[in-house]
Symmetry: C2
Amino acid sequence: MIFKDSAYKKIEDIVGSEYCSRAKEETVCYSYDASASGYYPDAVVFPGNTSEVSSILKLACIEGFFVIPRGSGSGMTGGSVPVMGGVVIAMNRFNRIIEIDTDNFTASVEPGVITAQFHREVEKLNLFYPPDPSSSEFSTLGGNLAECAGGPRAVKYGVTRDYVLGLEAVLPTGEVIKTGVKTAKGVVGYDLTRLFIGSEGTLGIITQITVKLLPLPDSVETITASFFELEKAAGTVSEIIRQGIVPRTIEFMDKESIKCVEKYLDTSIAVNASALLIIEVDGRSDEVKSSIIRLKELCIETGANDVRIAGSKEETALIWKARKAVSPALFTYAPDKINEDIVVPRSKIPDMVRKINSIRIKTGLTIASFGHAGDGNIHFNIMLDKKNREELKKAEAAVEELFDYTIELGGTISGEHGIGITKAAYMTKEIGPVEIELMRNIKKLFDPKGILNPGKIFSEH
Amino acid sequence: MIFKDSAYKKIEDIVGSEYCSRAKEETVCYSYDASASGYYPDAVVFPGNTSEVSSILKLACIEGFFVIPRGSGSGMTGGSVPVMGGVVIAMNRFNRIIEIDTDNFTASVEPGVITAQFHREVEKLNLFYPPDPSSSEFSTLGGNLAECAGGPRAVKYGVTRDYVLGLEAVLPTGEVIKTGVKTAKGVVGYDLTRLFIGSEGTLGIITQITVKLLPLPDSVETITASFFELEKAAGTVSEIIRQGIVPRTIEFMDKESIKCVEKYLDTSIAVNASALLIIEVDGRSDEVKSSIIRLKELCIETGANDVRIAGSKEETALIWKARKAVSPALFTYAPDKINEDIVVPRSKIPDMVRKINSIRIKTGLTIASFGHAGDGNIHFNIMLDKKNREELKKAEAAVEELFDYTIELGGTISGEHGIGITKAAYMTKEIGPVEIELMRNIKKLFDPKGILNPGKIFSEH
């Protein structure tokens, strides 16, 4: 669609000229996310309130331009990139924590609030917001909702969906709606709240969020277990849960991830190991202490060659620094990354790591795996140079094979990154034609003119 | 719509004549739920598998008859009653627990499984399915999903919505869909799973359910605290959570409920008290023991006149027998009951109980309140003789006033019973016209011919 000068002038009237731009040096900042780049918007706009968002969407319906909502642009599947041009609505000014209700354990926040900043604010009040995607230091709550972000703590605490009570959102038609409740329970009408969560900004623009909070756990302890054999590490994950222990986190790093991050950070985390588990337990301190001892014994029984209980905050911080550095560190292997976040039933992790290994051997590709093993959520990363056509072809075939095997094991092709543009072509592997048609019709119902975040989720093929 | 003999013959062909009936003595059993009666279906049919359900819905679209799905008919708002006639699809034959996966803590079940039966089966394997509506001994999992049932344990564990991973369902068009995943995480496409949960059987008929399970807590202990002053009991609820203790249950009974059930069961649970709290803590046994001691001290500080720790399984069973008997016992006061399940933010419970009391005094109506105070979920029951027109009018005005006050306090008019027919007229108090229109359009999208469970949720006015 052509973006007319007259439309831009009207946008200036809505938000003020200081809060929008068409300059290339500005729009370039909104042309990419963590997975894709080169999609320039026609303009970027920074609305300051719900009414302005509504006016822009109404204008888009009249003038016929695309609108793409954006948090921090840290998504992994292209959810916020303007693949067909249009106007990026950057939600940065929606950055207020409106209320933290310490009596009712709820908070009202705007979608542009940075997740980790929100964590810190509620934790000051001895409260706890569990969802913690690895991007939490820069991703926004609105983006987390749009993709239904997970993160390491989901083993015990679930994902973003499980913490959202209600929303204010602007529909593509410009109408403002409120969904859900501010209370612990509520079943009045259809669950529009959860329809928005994970809809990747295609059904409306979230302008306010009510979440539930928990009491902050008294104590958190971290243990690492390194294994000479990858499959023993994978088997340990199931065994932990089978024993009735529910850590808040069971993270996993394979040999390539460990080696890469050790070099990147010039540190040593699990020398010569084929796999590392990072397990975190939280709760009351006496309970945590006894769980950690049980976990240490269990990991030794299941074949760990080295088990360490983090003895200080610094040590714990270092472990997490290493874990969170894996993703960026992998770029030392190659300039490009194909990053998938499959999930398999926990008990199938050994099968999946075996499969990944066999593909690595068969193809010669550089593949590093890490992720949230406690959920069966494995991030496998193929490091390559996409300009190398042959390598790219091999990588794409590998992804296809791994997705097929994921489905065969009863899993899903995306645990927390969403479909966006990068997985749209694979969606039919998991979702049948009737279901896709239903979803497309829901999209049409919400967005009859097709102006909001086009080209996402649904493949054109 | 007229139900034709020829349509009935075709239903007989689909399920076999032993699995359907038009006999009055049979259809009468499907003419009511726990809130409404006198709505006779034209026929009742007991399909044995998904394909039969699909065939019946396809037939309904062609022949033009209404279809009303039904679990045990224990709903509180008329969700399963055939208000416009038609064919009741009784899901009783969908009663298999297909799989309990002890490695991955999931289960696949059919919707006709009785909730408490499912509890018992998973508990044998040391697993735990938290949602436990008071009707659990007779309600079905499918019905629980349709209404998004809650129950006492929701304080700590959340509601039905939080435990469903995926579904198989038959759309009103007869098409069979699968939604969601069998894994801990999954974000592929729109969240159709949660759109079905709480949709009161208006969007499709659930034929299979995948739920997540938790490890069974080692230990559960129960404490009761009786109060001479109702408001002190109400204030205690907030104080418990504020202290960072999360019991799995904080139940509440007011004076009328206590008196009534003591007489009904010929027992004594809290003589002369104005309010009783029943608090249950679960977890590891050492942790539970220390929480119970803290709770006992706290209740004494906040003004309880008597606090008792249940010393045996029998004692605990008696407490719960009393709590669960409140609802039926109330019929000793009057032949009819208007039963609402409002929710307010926990900290507003004292305001709400004060309001209920003032209405009781003002109107002279018999009102008993009890419920899940930990969630702010109060069941207020007006006991009356509906044939007494004047009393009925007064009761309806009282409901209206209490609903208005609920909304004013930031609450919701239904925490777990749904809208059905009994609350349809009040829905606009909570949900705006744009949101209702959106919901109606979703309904139309799923059910273009309007054959499935008509007359529910959306008021005709």
